[in-house]
Amino acid sequence: MSDLITITIDGKEIPAQRGEMLTKAARRAGIEIPVFCGHPKLDPIGACRMCLVEQETPRGRALITACTTPVSEGMVIHYGSEKAVDARQGTLEMILINHPLDCPICDKGGECPLQDHTLAHGPGKSHFWEEKHHKAKNYPLSDLILLDQERCILCWRCIRYLGEWEDKPQLGLFHRGGETVIDKFPDGELDAYTSGSIIDLCPVGALTNRPARFSYRPWELRKTPSICTHCGQGCNLRIDSRDDIVRRHVARENVAVNDEWICDKGRFADDISVSPARLQQPLARIAGQLQPVSWAEALQRVVSGLKGVAERHGPAAIGAIGSAKASNEANYLLGKFMRGVIGSNNLDHREGAALLADPRGLPSLEAARHADLILLMGCDPSEEMPVLATLLKRAAIRQAAAVVIVHPRRIELARYPGHCFQPAPGEEPALFDALTRATLAGRGEPIPAWLAGAAEDAQITAAANALAAAQRPFILYGSDYAWGFGARAIVASLTNWVTAAGHGDRLGFLHAQANSQGAGDMGMLPDFLPGRRPLADAKARGDLEALWQTELPSQPGLTYGGMLASARGRIKALYLLGANPAGEKPADAAALKALDFLVVQELFLTETAQLADVVLPAASYVEGDGTFTNSERRVQRAPQAVKPVGNAAPDWLILTHLARAYAPERAAAWSTTSVAALFAEITQAAPLYAGMTWENLGAGGRQWPWQALSLQRSVQPYKPAALPADPAYPLRLVVGNQLWDDGVVLAASPALAQQGIKAARLHPTDAAALGLHSGDAITLRSRSGSVRTTVHVDDAIKPGTVFLPYSLAGAPAGALFDEYAPRSAVGVG
């Protein structure tokens, strides 16, 4: 039976795919059947009756809904017949009976399917002149979304999205007849992390973006296709601006990355370019105070400051810290400046050398859709990559993919059938060893002596067997397991398990930051050059020397931690681009103060920038062109959407001017004048990016292949790391990313201040033992410091641990870090 069939619409024969919906086949033939409830990403439901067409049946013509009718061979459809046209007119007239027609003040007006369909298919006038039903207007479903029940046409799209994609059916259809409304269960919540998608889906102006309300009319917006830079997924979105002010973000379809969804942080946290706290002018420390200076003076001060240090202490006394939030171009040029102009390999970023990440990130985000098993170790996609979490939920529901989780918290995805292991910090390698042993035993392979002692139980055996039997597992580990004390043992042992199960090549790493992958690809690492080529590789150095017309130092530099630790010793000057060590770990503030010279290139006057000798105001990613590389190695463009604030300048422009001022004799190697040209240079410097151009990155970006770097994996013994107990500090610290934190982006978006629970979390038994209740103020102490915050009692927390999210205002997790960080022993009191 062939899949290609022929159907007839209005006497015209058109080809169609067997089983596809009539609306889709008709659209391909250029017939746009109007729909409200139907949506390509949602299951058909046939709620609105807008798509009525006539079908020839053995018993005569019948009206059917095109959006719920699969095509079949020989089907004869009348779209333009009098009865079909009349039926659609009647439907529209009925929909409009109670619609308030307040288009002039409706945010949807101008891009509203109801307006468009009324113009194309509507009756023009109504039989009804009676008073309309009055329902709730301006009704907040959450702090982010407003509902206007009068405008609602009951198409169910929002209800279905939350059910089908988020698996959080928090909206429902209540009451009956003309009184029917969409609402939450009384006192219920709408807290899905991608809840804003229902605004995009709403075919009328019933659901509107609360923070962006009334700030735009669709026809006056400049629409810049861009990406989101809040996490490593790199969701595609559109930045809508007017008068160089960003008015809103809406999702943009890229099936390979984010389907058609963006998370609420990506949608609503769009105030970064209008924040009054943004740096607008270079600052220099004059007589002990940071004072505004001109760009020329600021750059001159940077040049003389760095030159002075280089002359007194040599180039190795200078270091630079890049950022996983900055673009590829910024990181590339910072590396080029440090290595090629200053002559130092002291280069790293926070998620750099210390993070035991797979250099290739994760194999493919799209693979999540087809997974038959999902294995998550030390990562929480719901908090770290909410749109990936929706894809995983869908795989768990629609494909019955088992979900296996190893995490110190019981994360959201643990609600799906599978296995959830909650090892306490320090216990992970033993668990993974047991899983490895069970896998080897299950496959009948010999068990090495060092694994013989691993304890096993029924759940471990079941999880091991499930992974070994999976055909298309989607496997991720994350930063919670990949850095700090004991991380080497955890990563080695989890790699052993996945390798033993035969899926070594599917083990991916979930990068929490937008450009962690790209910063590494750009050589923002002490021992790797652009393109992930080792510094030790003489040929790689030679290639770069030819491109950069310079000589490169071959001695590996210091890491992020190393540079900060040496700030009182051999490091005398630091250049920080988008890094805020002083805010993340107060102990580092003292170290930065000891430097001879500190340059900070930043968006805001951060704790670190306040210590600087020169502060350079950078343009945010919406204000300058750039590329970002997401967790699946997809290089995507983020073109300029609005003008930079004040005198802020794009990172690449600052660094280009700086290099030309520092070394006028090397100006020829620093002559690019656009990001497109700079990106062309990057593709030469980083062979992984060969073949890409600014233009051919297109709307959807391009990936460099997973196979471009091959890793040989086998089950290997590793060196265990024992985490000593500390009776004075009975709890174990667990840190992690949380979507709603107090980071830079959210601090700049006042509308989002109330989102999420910003507190340390304790298990109810620990809280009860300490006499604590949710909302109480607590002080967490470790051997190195203390933080004050509030407590939230949560039974998803492993007893004996305390969970502290990164980036809580006034409670930096780094204050508690000691040599066992991030698994430090802490106490409450």
Binding site: P169, L171, F174, R176, F185, D187, G188
Partner: protein, 166 residues
């Protein structure tokens, strides 16, 4: 509907009903009916408990409960007065009866008196149009109602059992 006004609902009374339908698909309406038999109406906690037990989203359970006129989401009075407002009764003066009830008992259709004695509901046609306007007090059909007669009958009935719990 806020949770405060539904305090003191004993969810244990629901366990027998839930146990009876455990694992049965499509049993939501019978469960809601039995739950209403137990509590007299459907408080939100009960709906949440039913949702948890049946695996149906609470938004759907609430959708069903609000769709059918047979389910009540607010506490009802000890006496129920149904006023017919179908076409015939409406023409013959139901609105006047409703005004009279409001004047005497302080309740509009759909409301319950503050002491919980009387609930007034409007229904649409009881099939006794020849007797219009029709009122039904605690199951007893009363035809050709006039204001004074209705008020007197209700006063008598409510007064008789007014103070006691039923």
């Amino acid at each position: 509907m806020d949770m405060q006004s539904h305090a003191g609902v004993d969810l244990d009374l629901l366990e027998d009903v839930l146990a009876q339908y455990q694992g049965q698909r499509g049993a939501l309406i019978p469960i809601l009916q039995k739950a209403q038999d137990v509590y007299g109406y459907l408080p939100p906690q009960v709906l949440q408990r039913i949702a948890r037990s049946t695996g149906v989203a609470v938004s759907k359970v609430y959708g069903v409960a609000t769709f059918y006129a047979q389910f009540y989401l607010q506490k009802r009075g000890r006496h129920i007065l149904k006023l017919c407002d179908g076409t015939a009764c409406h023409v013959k003066g139901t609105p006047v009866l409703a005004t009279a009830l409001e004047d005497h008992f302080g309740v509009q259709p759909g409301q319950t008196t503050e002491d919980g004695a009387l609930t007034v509901e409007v229904v649409y046609c009881l099939g006794s149009c020849a007797l219009a306007p029709v009122a039904v007090l605690d199951g007893q059909v009363m035809g050709r109602m006039r204001q004074e007669m209705l008020v007197r009958t209700v006063q008598k009935q409510v007064g008789a059992a007014g103070g006691e719990e039923v």
